[in-house]
């Protein structure tokens, strides 16, 4: 028998080892043990989450495609493939390379499906910037994303950055990639056809990342542990060449299947391709290009060296494919062939070192994890508004919120990303969503990623629903019809019932919201164990969503366009302050419940805004989120620094606390601005969908002025707002 400490060090439990013995009916070899340990890791095998992920809807308003490693929708014969993935633990250890390889990995999932990558977005979360390690992580991660994304020639067009104490010790880096392809050019990640060849292409294999998924991503960080050696180094230049070579190879028609070697490297590729193609594989490790000496079979199978792929090529056509990769100066060697025995057979110089049924290896055990609502939530959800003192000076509060790290302008970040390469970016970063044109058509895609994790912490089910509908609302504000979702679910230790309760509720929330809005979840990723002795992260189910714009001339950005526009509020303000940025920033409280949600009201507001934009009635559209109505209005005034326009909001008449009116984060609210002769037409549309509609003021001047009734609450020069909003992140970082 293999000693327990051997398989424990690989991350396998006693039960899992017993399972392996049952499957093989004998003792496993070293190589086989290594293969099981990576393929059955939480990161690759989804042992704890598979049961609940089945709830997510795979169908929606557009035709969906669900592939092995990615998914998408089809519009007019064009496939839009997209996926989001996490690279949290490697980024916490080595932020630049962690983030870079995260970007590299997600891009590979897209182009190995046959789609040309056209955009990247990233959702990042860190601990507060007043701690120097968090600052180091932020600058390192941004450096990693720009280092990889810029060089590989895929524009980084959007994203979000949040700061919260819960992320100290566990930063989150979720990278999303979108690609497009003609529907008939897509390729599966499957190997089939007896006698077809298996070719290895890309960088040579080294010892980097060995055990990354089994060790880094499937366990908590313990204090003082040296995890650096297991982080991989990215090479965006090789990846760029790989993109071109792969798309060229797929075009020949000789590629039967192709898969990226990501987490769990060769193990994952061989077993999953064989399983997906209902076939087997016979691989000779001596043919695998390597860059270090004396690599053992188990090291070759576990290595997570970047920029490598496995291609299943039609028998006899290997030289055609090799020529294309050699043209781009990339390794391309035949390493094996497809069999029909359902086995993954790994040889080292002819001698068999591993032989496992593909189905057994890829079918990791499914665990039914216990869950329990955390007791602390009951107290935390109580918020006595009466006990929160109202501020005296709302101008000061608004300025502070505009400078708050989670709200403030992120130009310092996205000016380091090439967001214009490929010349498709029609709405640049800084608005509610990015818009990318589809050359050769009149259509465009809008993309965003969203999640307010504070809402999810205080109410996982509703918080996750809000993440979905807020993403949809952001797309609608650009004039896009929300189409499909990719999710990246980041949680703590699933073996702790309170953490698992958060996960289960978030998945249910996403499923219910998507079903109501008829949006499919086409791909996704789960990242557990984001916790350390210091803290456990807020549950963070990041939603990446794309929407379709039917006429590229009918897109919309968030800034007011000229003086004299009418400002309309769709939706209405409730007296609620729970879980708000205002409560956190000004009163230092993470308390209350997530804002109330009326899904029917949300639908009505979104349908109204979308129709108004499609009918060209509207000059700008922006939704209310963190910071509430006041922050949203300020952003409408100042987000185009070359054309800042003030506003006089003098038609509000709410009988409620002033701070709740200004900064409460009630859902289902969109601010529109339009020419005065369009107001009635927009009102008619709101009536049609039964959305609350109110003209709240007019644009003009150099000041943002907000009144409630006759009481003036805010009056701030645009320059002051802009100064706080545009300078604060850079100032924090350079302090």
């Amino acid at each position: 028998m293999v000693k327990p400490n051997v398989y424990h060090s690989l991350g396998l439990s006693d039960k899992e080892y017993q399972n392996i013995l049952k499957i093989l009916k004998r003792k496993p070899t070293n190589t086989e043990l290594a293969m099981f340990s990576v393929e059955w890791s939480e990161h690759c095998g989804y042992l704890c989450s598979r049961k609940w992920l089945k709830l997510l809807p795979k169908r929606g308003k557009y035709k969906t495609l669900i592939g092995e490693d990615s998914g998408g929708i089809i519009i007019d014969g064009l496939a839009i493939i997209f996926k989001m993935e996490s690279h949290n633990h490697p980024s916490q250890v080595e932020p630049k390379q962690g983030a870079a390889t995260g970007v590299g990995g997600i891009i590979r999932d897209i182009f190995t499906a046959g789609a040309r990558p056209i955009a990247l977005l990233d959702s990042l979360r860190f601990g507060p910037l007043n701690q120097s390690y968090n600052k180091y992580l932020l600058t390192g991660v941004v450096d990693g994303i720009q280092f990889y994304g810029n060089c590989v020639g895929v524009p980084t067009v959007g994203g979000e950055i949040y700061f919260d104490e819960s992320y100290s010790g566990n930063c989150l880096v979720n990278a999303m990639c979108i690609g497009i392809a003609k529907k008939d050019k897509l390729v599966r990640a499957a190997a089939s056809g007896l006698g077809n060849s298996i070719m290895y292409v890309g960088s040579s294999t080294g010892r980097d990342g060995i055990g990354g998924c089994s060790i880094l991503a499937s366990h908590e960080f313990k204090e003082g542990e040296e995890k650096r050696p297991t982080v991989q180094i990215g090479d965006p230049f090789t990846e760029k060449c790989l993109i071109e070579a792969t798309l060229e190879a797929i075009n020949t028609g000789y590629v039967v299947g192709i898969k990226d070697m990501g987490a769990a490297g060769l193990t994952c590729c061989t077993s999953e391709m064989a399983q997906a193609g209902n076939s087997g594989m016979d691989i000779e490790l001596q043919a695998v290009p390597r860059r270090e000496e004396n690599m053992q079979p188990w090291e070759l199978m576990m290595s997570e060296s970047q920029e490598r792929m496995l291609i299943c090529v039609k028998k006899g056509k290997e030289d055609h494919i090799k020529k294309i990769f050699l043209k781009w100066d990339l390794n391309a060697s035949v390493v094996g062939k497809v069999t029909n025995d359902g086995l993954v057979t790994i040889r080292d110089d002819g001698k068999i070192v591993a032989q496992i049924k593909a189905h057994s290896l890829t079918k990791a055990p499914v665990y039914d994890m216990p869950y329990k609502k955390p007791r602390y939530l009951r107290e935390l959800n109580k918020l006595a508004l009466g006990k929160i003192p109202e501020p005296e000076d709302y101008n000061k509060v608004l300025l502070r919120l505009m400078a708050a790290p989670s709200i403030t302008n992120k130009t310092w970040v996205y000016e380091q990303y090439d967001h214009m390469v490929q010349t498709n970016t029609v709405v640049l970063p800084g608005s509610d969503a990015a818009v990318l044109r589809l050359k050769g058509t009149k259509k465009a895609i809008a993309a965003t990623c969203d999640c307010n994790s504070r809402y999810c912490f205080l109410n996982p089910y509703r918080g996750a629903q809000i993440a979905v509908i807020e993403a949809a609302r952001n797309l609608v504000c650009c004039g896009a019809n929300p189409a499909a979702v990719t999710d990246c679910l980041n949680f703590g230790n699933p073996e702790k019932p309170e953490s698992f309760w958060q996960f289960k509720n978030c998945v249910e929330g996403i499923a219910d919201a998507c079903r109501l809005f008829n949006i499919a979840v086409v791909s996704g990723n789960v990242s557990f164990y984001n916790e350390s002795p210091k803290s456990v992260i807020h549950p963070t189910p990041t939603i990446g969503m794309i929407g379709i714009i039917n006429d590229i001339n009918k897109t919309c950005a968030q800034n007011f366009k000229q003086a004299g526009e009418a400002i309309i509020l769709l939706g209405y303000c409730r007296e609620e302050l729970g879980a708000s940025e205002y409560l956190k920033e000004i009163h230092n409280l993470t308390k209350g419940d997530a804002p109330q949600l009326d899904l029917k009201l949300e639908q009505a507001v979104q349908k109204t805004a979308l129709k108004a934009i499609e009918k060209d009635l509207v000059n700008s559209a922006h939704d209310c989120s963190e910071g509430g109505l006041a922050v949203a209005l300020a952003e409408c005034c100042i987000s185009d620094k070359d054309n800042m326009i003030g506003a006089n909001i003098n038609k509000l008449n709410y009988d409620m606390r002033q701070d709740a009116l200004l900064f409460g984060e009630s859902q289902s609210r969109i601010i529109l601005s339009c020419n005065s002769d369009c107001v009635e037409k927009v009102r008619k549309i709101a009536l049609e969908f039964k959305a609350p509609f109110c003209v709240i003021g007019k644009t003009g001047g150099r000041v943002l002025r907000i009144l409630n009734g006759i009481e003036e609450l805010v009056s701030l020069p645009l320059e002051d707002l802009y100064a706080e909003w545009s300078g604060s992140l850079k100032k924090e970082i350079e302090r």
Partner: protein, 234 residues
Amino acid sequence: MKFGVVVFPGSNCDQDCFYVVKDVLKQPVEYIWHKDTKLDNLDCIILPGGFSYGDYLRTGAIARFSPVMKSIADFARKGGTVIGICNGFQILLEAGLLPGVMLKNRNLHFICKHVYIKTQNIQTRFTSLYKQGQILKMPIAHNEGNYYIDAAGLRELRDNNQVVFRYCSATGKDSDEFNPNGTLANIAGIINKRGNVLGMMPHPERSSERELSSQDGYFIFKSIVQWLKARRVW
């Protein structure tokens, strides 16, 4: 008339340049693989932006040795029209087809944003459709846009009117405040002495269409077409 867009391993903006010439300018265009040495029937060669060879070692340092570069040098020597954009400009500098060198941006970061540049020399085949001193809005996106040449070199550039574009404010002020990357004398683009080779850091192919934030870059390509038409003997 035919345009050629060179593709090096790592070039990113080749498809963008190809698209502008083919679909916006509506002129014949083909890709030139960096190992090809035949440049028959080409009237204008574009070296596009990107990260040729990953910018490893030094930006443009390895690409300048690609087989195609010798042919491009011959082509330029014979008076052919060559435009190097961003990484293309960096490759022309390393190859010695333009004088000087590119250093890292002074803030040590990649910078992607719209800037304003002033047209200093409208006597070139690239800028004839602009007015003298015309201010253009164009995006930059680079790590190394900090142009450097020694004092004698700078004098020569000025004496021969080789500085074509300089960074400035929206109203044309050219102080250091509007220098995005520390480049010497706010230089954004230069030509060779003969006037047939242009190198520029801003991206005209990203500012040639109505859907994108500016159309000012279009006229560089249009100027080239006009110049080539005027010289063709039909």
